[in-house]
Amino acid sequence: MNLSNATSSSSIRLALTAHRWAQQFSRQQANPVKAKQVYLNTLSVCAVQMYLDRLGIDVDLTHNQSWNSAQQTLMDVADLVISGWGVLECRPVPPGAEALIIPPEVWSDRQGYVAVQLDESLRRAELLGWVTTAHAGTVPLTALTSLDELTIQLLQSRSEQTASQVKMQPERIHLGRWLNTVVDAGWHAAEGLLQPLELQTEFGFRGDRPDADSIDPQEIAVARCKTLVLSTSHGSVAVNLMVGLLPQSSNETEIWVQISPTDPEQQLPVHLRLMILDEQGDDVMNAQARATEAMQLRFTGQTGELFSVKVVLDQESVVEHFII
């Protein structure tokens, strides 16, 4: 027994999952040489996928050419697509071999090539190392770069992805802070200006719909107003966005959203739409101005919930993001 091979953390146990995939694909090849090739290629891809799994890197195997029977038939391919990083080719190294062989059909469009040594029993795979180019098809095992470098690259790329995802979060107004008399930049206090209007929702709404008559405007604990400007092909249009809060319980708040013209003599543009979007950006509530003085939507939300208010005119839109 080669003790070092059995216990290294880059040593992978090939059990039922890997062999099942290998069998499934190789059975589709009548040519025994091709069947063997597909079997070994599949085991190698599985070995690398299991290694990545431990690193916390998920991969979708269905993106691989190596997971497609027609592609397997046409090419000697063992690719693994790692989103946000590139394509890794996982080449099987037979027991006792001294070099990594890379077939011509995978010499291009690959970020790297990993040498996956298989033992005679096909129950153990060892990730020996990798190279970044195909070197015209033959790489002595002694010339492989350490797997650690690949691991570091993958981990760093994954960290960068997570960081950029976090950066892409829009700035949100914390409505809860309004109850502490915070006034965000661009907004001003508007208590007393928010009056219940007849509701004009066209489509579905979330939660209970408060009845206009039953609301005492005094209950609106806090309201803020901000001017939004939409630049359309017909010129700029300014509207006032008012948001009011009626806390219902320790974690539920009723929220009023109103759009009205900045000039009280005017009416809202006819095709102006007001939409409430949920955390996923899906439209959960909307209304369209039809030569009205104002539009108002009301809904109830939980503390911590995210939503956005979107005002649309022609092709132009302005979005404000909130967290309750």
Binding site: A35, A70, L74, L122
Partner: protein, 303 residues
Amino acid sequence: MVIDATLEHYITQLQQHPQATEAWQHALLALVESILRSRKIGRALRGNSLTGIYLEITTRLENWLFESLPKAIAQNPPAVDAVTAWSSQQLYYAYRHVLSDDLLKQLALEAQNHPAQSVERHHALSQLLDAIQLSGRLAHPHRKTFAPEFYELLYDEAVNRTWVYICRHIDTYDPDRGQNKKFMNWVNFRLDRMIIECRRDVDEQDVDELPSFSELENLAQPSEPDSLAAELHACIEQDQDQLFQQAHIRNRPDVSFQAIALARLEDESWEAIASRFNVKVPTLSSFFQRCCTKFAPKFQEYL
């Protein structure tokens, strides 16, 4: 072998010089250092000095080897050409003795100290997985319930899943929980659950069907006359939408995807095709690979 000769030299020195003499001590020190050079556990992250748990593990391995090597040489000396294997064996025994539950726990805590997907955490986790295996403390739950060959397969599958669990959920390990607060309880408990989970996915008959490398040559293949390869060949040859012929290397309408694909399906080598068309292999193969990707939805449609 260079390594063998060096180790042999030190062992000979130890056998020749009386115990505790300076020459003897030098030889022992050199032997211990040589053996430790190939250790897997107790290594610092590349570019860092040896500190913390990694240093502690190395120190304990060192101390154990200092104590046990003289006895081993006296009682069970290596054969002349088996020195490297003998040394590996000594290191293996050292792991078994030194890697206590407490050291494993400290590796786990080291991993927790670093952010997820950081290089430092990955280093600690790989050392941890290696250490668990080398310590001999990984249990074999339910072994008596199954036939040995079947259990081996079940066990491997369960260990794979356990490793993933440890790596992805190391933050859920609480060193203060549990009766005797042993780290391996957390691991072995998970392994036990995985065996049960895997049992549902594995059939007893599956074991016989796993081929070894040599047996792959004789895989039982489907006897259907129309294999996937034959269908693909027909599809590419017929080229009903004229796609495969029209995709060709620039300025060479004769070097079409169709021509290359049919040649490859008929087992012609890249060198032969390249020579026939007088086009270099990398040009042919990358063109071919990109066409395969491009036409993948078409193949899906046709077949």
